[in-house]
Each structure stands twice: as structure tokens, then as C-alpha cells.
């Protein structure tokens, strides 16, 4: 264990156990059979999250938080590895990587090498992944930082330490993605779902995170009856809440013309 420099490795402990919520861990042959994924529109087991954090402890915790809320998780320890995983680390576009399904990227802000902010920018610059919601986590509640991240297109900003309620909230937004909201959106979306990304999921996907190089998922899209709707457009992710302008730090710059997403700043509840 320890810093293996790659991906988190608590999985060993979890591998043998039937996790809660029908999560992706390789099902053990004998005990309770994993719930057969029904081709229902709401296939919650399909959500795949890429978590990025240089701290092993934090990686383990966020991974667990996500798994407990029925997400598949790939956890990496740096922005570079995240880009590598997404196939964005070099210019060659790999055909296989087009099949990579990532529904959410959650990243720490303060990381050596590449910060979460820089990672965010790179993701937003990529045609394949710019529509994927990116959530930033930070231990510091600095308004300019939050603002900057949201300006760059981050969906949400979580204050560490991250709690189950935070992840559940994120998760509940993601859950609605599988239901095509034709008129359900109360908001007017700047760009509606001509979202690019991601291709039909393969249900029995087990992403092995034991290896660090970019993972390619064998495309098995023969069964795309489930959730082939385009991923949730960023704005649909969450509802806005008013910001208490009580921080001593920096003054919020107001830009009235901005699209809704930029003004939506969320903080973890109970925050000061």
C-alpha cells in the first residue's frame, strides 16, 4: 500500500465483500448474486466517476463515499494521471478511448504538479470531455478560488473534508441524467444536449484500478437499451443557492450577463 504512485488500492479489502448498493466490485462467485442490471432508464449503477487527489487518505475516503452512493470509481493521484486516463495526455486520439465513459470528474484543488484548476482547464479544452461535469474539492474556502473555478466551468465546489451529504447531493443530480429531461428543465440551457461525449455504456464494466496506464474499456455496445441518452448538460447539475457574502476574503465580482452556470456557487452546508 502506501503511495504506489498510481491509483488507490483499498480495493483489496473491498473486493471480497459485497458492497452496498450493487456496486461494481467483481462479484464473488458464491454469495448473494449481484443484482442483474435491468435495462431501465434509471440505471444508477452506471455512473462512473474519476476522482483525483494526491492524498491517499483522501482518495480512499472519496472513493468510498462515491461507491456507497452507487458509483463506479477510478481514483488517481495526480492531474497527469487523470489526463492519461482520459487519453488527453498526448495528441494521438485513440479510437478506443472514445468509448471511455466518465460521468463526473471530482478533483482536489491543491495538488503538486498540476492543480485541480489546471486539470479543469484542460478538461474543458478537450472536445471529448468538456461536457463532463467537474467538481473541485478544497480544504480552503477562498472566494477567489471558488469563483475562478466556477468561471472556468466547474460544476460545483466542495469544501473538504467531504461528507456523505455532499456526495449524495452530487449523486442525486447525476441520477437525473439517465432520464431524458425534455421539458423537465426549469432553466433555459445555453447549449442544450448536443453534448458530445460519451458513448453507450457497457453494463458489466469492471474497471480495474490496479494498473495506472490509461484504461480502455472494451466497447460492447450491443445492449445500449439503457441510458443512451446524452449526459446531463452542466447547468442541469444543480440548483443555485444564494451565496452568503460573509467571507472576509475577496469581494465577489458580479457579472450580470453571465450564463446561469457561472453564478451558481455552492458550498458545503454548515460552512463558514
Amino acid at each position: 500500500m502506501g503511495r504506489d504512485g498510481g491509483v488507490s488500492c483499498l480495493r483489496r479489502a473491498e473486493m471480497n465483500m459485497m458492497s452496498v448498493g450493487g456496486i461494481e466490485s467483481t462479484p464473488a462467485p458464491a454469495p448473494a448474486p449481484a443484482p442483474a442490471p435491468a435495462p431501465a432508464p434509471l440505471d444508477l449503477d452506471e455512473v462512473h466517476v474519476l476522482a483525483v487527489d494526491d492524498s491517499l487518505v483522501d482518495r480512499i475516503v472519496i472513493e468510498r463515499l462515491l461507491r456507497i452512493t452507487s458509483c463506479k470509481v477510478t481514483a488517481v493521484d495526480s492531474g497527469w494521471r487523470a489526463l492519461e486516463f482520459l487519453g488527453l495526455d498526448n495528441d494521438k486520439a485513440s479510437a478506443q478511448l472514445d468509448r471511455l465513459k466518465v460521468d463526473l470528474i471530482i478533483t482536489d484543488y491543491c495538488m503538486p504538479g498540476m492543480t485541480g484548476y489546471e486539470l479543469l482547464k484542460k478538461i474543458k479544452e478537450s472536445s471529448n470531455f468538456r461536457e463532463v461535469p467537474v467538481v473541485i474539492m478544497s480544504s480552503e474556502n477562498v472566494l477567489t478560488r471558488i469563483d475562478r473555478c466556477l468561471e472556468e466551468g466547474a460544476q460545483d465546489f466542495l469544501l473538504k473534508p467531504v461528507k456523505l451529504a455532499d456526495v449524495k447531493r452530487l449523486r442525486s443530480h447525476l441520477a437525473t441524467k439517465d432520464v431524458k429531461l425534455s421539458n423537465g428543465n426549469k432553466r433555459k440551457l445555453p447549449e442544450d444536449s448536443d453534448s458530445v461525449i460519451i458513448t453507450p455504456p457497457s453494463p458489466s464494466l469492471t474497471i480495474s484500478t490496479e494498473s495506472s496506464p490509461p484504461l480502455t474499456i472494451s466497447p460492447d455496445s450491443s445492449d445500449s437499451s439503457s441510458s443512451s441518452s446524452p449526459p446531463l448538460s452542466p447547468v442541469e447539475m444543480f440548483s443555485s443557492s444564494p451565496i452568503d457574502n460573509d467571507e472576509d476574503d475577496d469581494v465577489l465580482t458580479s457579472s450580470p450577463e453571465e450564463s446561469p452556470i457561472r453564478r451558481q456557487k455552492m458550498r458545503s452546508p454548515g460552512l463558514d
Binding site: 479489502a13 452496498v20 491517499l56 487518505v57 468510498r64 480544504s139 473534508p161
Partner: protein
């Protein structure tokens, strides 16, 4: 057996409460407990164990960086390790360790060598103390289970 179980449960409850009251643990530890279940019955212990490994490594980094015999002290290096320790202690609910890291960080920024050295010593003591206490707590849990009882949910107010 029931009397034994009750007694153990009471001890467990009291001990847990005392750990919170004495600021060894905070709300985030409670959060971690929520993530433990029959499928992952040792989750908290495993995370804490990783945390303690982290402590050893980071404290060693800090000690090395504060070693004046190798030249001028690089407070940035010290600060970086402190920042990491602050982060992970926060994530597991190690309240006292985290609080120390806050002071430690201030001393780093002020480039206060003595202050840093003091904090380093304190942090070392503190994580070891916590480790011992948690070991006792986990042992109590084991005893309860071995006696056939359930580990009670403890309400911290």
C-alpha cells in the same frame, strides 16, 4: 454473557464520548463511521491506519526539512508537508492533530524555526496518542463482537 456485553458497550460508549469531548476526534470521524457497513466492516480502522502511516512519513519529511545541519531550513518544504498532514487529519477527524497543523503552518509561514520544532514534537506526540486511543477503541469493538454483542451507535452531542 449479557452483563458482559452491556458492560463492554457502556465502556465503549463512554470512551467514545470522551474522545470527542477531549477533542481527539471530531465530526468527520462520525462521517467516516457512516461509510462503514457489513460489507466494509473495517473501513474506519483501515483509513485511520493509512492516516497514521501518512503521519510517520510526513513527520519524517518535516524533521528532515527542519534539520539545520544540512543547511538552511526550507520552510516551504516543511509547509508543504504540514499542509498535507492538515488535509489528511481533517479528512479522518483527527481534531487535535489538525489544530496543531494549523499552528504549525503559521510558524512555517513566519519562518519561525523554534515554533516549527515545537510543533513537530507536539504533532508527533499527538498522532501517537490518538493511535493508542483508537487502538483501545477498536479493541473494545472487537470484544463486544466476540462476546456476541453489537457495537452501539454513539450519539455525540
Amino acid at each position: 454473557m449479557d452483563a458482559l456485553i452491556s458492560q463492554l458497550q457502556r465502556q465503549f460508549r463512554d470512551y467514545t464520548i470522551s474522545l470527542y469531548q477531549q477533542d481527539f476526534l471530531d465530526d468527520q470521524f462520525t462521517e467516516l463511521k457512516k461509510l462503514q457497513d457489513d460489507g466494509s466492516p473495517d473501513f474506519v480502522a483501515e483509513v485511520l491506519s493509512l492516516f497514521f502511516e501518512d503521519c510517520v512519513k510526513l513527520i519524517s519529511n518535516m524533521a528532515r526539512a527542519l534539520d539545520q545541519t544540512t543547511g538552511a531550513v526550507d520552510f516551504n518544504t516543511v509547509g508543504a508537508s504540514v499542509h498535507q498532514l492538515k488535509g489528511s487529519s481533517s479528512s479522518v477527524g483527527a481534531k487535535r492533530v489538525k489544530a496543531l497543523c494549523v499552528s504549525f503552518k503559521d510558524f512555517c509561514e513566519a519562518q519561525n524555526f523554534q515554533g516549527c520544532v515545537r510543533c513537530l514534537q507536539q504533532v508527533d506526540i499527538e498522532y501517537k496518542t490518538l493511535k493508542t486511543k483508537l487502538q483501545d477503541l477498536f479493541n473494545l469493538e472487537k470484544q463486544i463482537i466476540q462476546a456476541g454483542g453489537i457495537v452501539p451507535q454513539v450519539d455525540i452531542n
